[in-house]
Subunit: 365 residues, 2 copies
């Protein structure tokens, strides 16, 4: 069995607590199934800043580039609100995304049957929901230049950010969208604001061309991003795969995540392009939720999103499809047994902490 190199970047807040539960799974899979995972650890975010004044060090960045996959916890918290912009906790995550060229961010929004009732939406609107938001992750307003604050004198400053998209960037993300749609319900909805943004005009055009050239078997629709936000709230089941840019994807995937009532359960995968020779691709897996500093260190955080992110890692980075299925079933099964962390708690269920939830999933695997 080949060696599988994982870099663990637990980060800040509840990140380390959630990551601890994944480590148990890795140890178990190594011991009982000879899975051959080799792990290293690094620092990212506020804890990295505290250790060496950078939100991720070059050494850890090198480890990330060399790993088969990176597991990422969460970054940030009020403790670092005052640190300089260039070394704020989020900069570490953005550097990883950019240097690893992780342009394709897969954010499934799935409503677990056991949890439909915890959504703020009516059960019939979200029950059985299974959509995938595909967010472009290395372009747009996150990275475009100029990005600066200029002092204009007279007490006036000017804040500038630049949204930039090139044809090839839109082409490759829409290619991923169509490929993913083929493994699902074969429908893609592309979202932008072509009515006010030139990048939106180009986005719509390139998605349509890519569709026409290579993927005309997939159903493609276009929607304005503001209308898309509305439709996600009104009737999310109308969608299969949604493909959109970095900033709209940030907003829309958060709204979609909240619909499911399972924010503490949602994983994500950020993927690079497959290597032309080996077919392998750089990848980072992280929960959709953030660092939740308000509950960090209390042992009550929900580790499921982090564990489900590891399941995505098994599937996408190591083609361990059976193992991924098995892990996802283990998660569903502990929920069916009525185990709930605090964020998911409802009447008649059994409240458990982070460790107990992790142990239960390991036991079910």
């Amino acid at each position: 069995m080949a060696t599988r190199k994982l870099l663990l970047l637990p980060g800040d807040g509840i990140g380390p607590e959630a990551m601890a539960e994944v480590k148990k799974l890795i140890d178990m899979m190594n011991a009982d199934f000879n899975a051959g995972f080799e792990t290293e650890e690094g620092l990212v975010g506020g804890c990295a800043y505290d250790a060496h004044g950078q939100s991720i060090s070059d050494a850890d960045m090198d480890k990330a580039m060399a790993a088969d996959a990176v597991l990422f916890g969460a970054v940030g918290g009020p403790k670092w609100d005052g640190v300089p912009y260039e070394v704020r906790p989020e900069a570490g995550l953005l550097r990883l995304r950019k240097e690893m060229e992780l342009f394709a961010n897969l954010r499934p929004a799935i409503c677990y049957p056991a949890l439909a009732a915890t959504s703020s939406l009516k059960p019939e609107v979200v029950e059985g929901l299974d959509i995938l938001i595909l967010r472009e992750l290395t372009g747009g307003v996150y990275f475009g230049e100029p990005k600066e604050i200029i002092d204009l004198g007279n007490g006036q400053k000017r804040g500038i950010d630049t949204q930039v998209y090139d044809t090839y960037e839109i082409e490759r993300i829409s290619g991923v969208a169509f490929e993913l749609a083929r493994t699902r319900s074969n429908r893609v909805c592309s979202m932008e604001k072509h009515n006010v943004m030139k990048s939106g005009v180009l986005w719509k055009e390139v998605v349509a061309n890519t569709h026409k050239a290579k993927y005309s078997d997939v159903e493609l629709t276009h929607m304005l991003a503001d209308a898309g936000g509305m439709q996600l709230v009104r009737w999310p089941k109308q969608f299969d795969v949604i493909v959109t840019d970095n900033l709209f994807g940030d907003m829309l995937s958060d709204v979609a995540a909240m619909l499911t009532g399972s924010l503490g359960m949602l994983p994500s995968a950020s993927l690079g392009a497959p290597d032309e020779k080996t077919g392998s691709r750089k990848a980072l897996y992280e929960p959709v939720h953030g660092s939740a500093p308000d509950i960090a260190g209390q042992g009550i955080a929900n580790p499921i999103a982090m564990i489900a992110s590891f399941a995505m890692c098994l599937r996408y980075s190591f083609n361990m499809v059976e193992e991924a299925d098995r892990l996802e079933k283990a998660i569903a099964s502990v929920l069916d047994d009525g185990l709930r962390t605090k964020d998911l708690m409802s009447e008649g269920m059994t409240e458990v902490g982070t460790t107990a939830m992790g142990d239960a999933i390991v036991a079910k695997y």
Copy 2:
């Protein structure tokens, strides 16, 4: 009684049908209450393009600048999908906003008791909801330069949009937010993405400074815009006034509108700065919904958002507070009587068309 000069711009799609119902109200108020409204009409959007190749003519623009208030229907539709970017229907609306300097866009999201059940959210989440999204409307990525598509050769193009905010723009919109909060529950939540955008860093700083300097009696909180979208879906009643930039405001106000289950009922006001001498301000009032080309011309569109926009006009442009209250009560009262346009229809209610709904509101006034 002074003359009150209104410019009516019905626009495209269901705009003209909805505006027709407002005209009935204007005629009635002139005849029965000597309200002194003088109306002119103009073209905007696709119909303006069809008539003279512009999305709004200079002549109509002049009328808008000279009016006490503009009532705007809706613009756009598939018919004009292929027209050049500069003269697309939306350009007319954007020109009005920019040249009239309507920087403050008020979008109340109110859940009418009679309609709580039509929301896709659980009734307890939206019942009694009354929040106000204040969107900056003349800056940001909508108007920043460069805004262009560059041909890079080799089949590659680059789409560019620029987000720009100056201190004074953020100062004046946050001033409006704090003033409005004082007339409501005295709470403002400012939303941006300071963790990835420099304009967001400046936004947060200027809002905080404005608060400290002049409005420290108002409660101010800050939230990342993606988290804000989540929180709107999770528990919208936590908010009072939300202040945010042009693009985030576009997205967030659409999500908020959809929460109420009353999209066809929500008005908006776009206001300029008060004149230093007269205190009067330029203003445009429009429904939050769009032109809905799919149902245009069928006599089934809901005119209430347009009528409620006229109520905002009475309140904000003419200080006709009693009349605005009366009109809003008339709307609530026809709903209590069980009248519903198709979009709001539910069991046991009486379905009526656009005209009948307008007539019923006129009769109740």
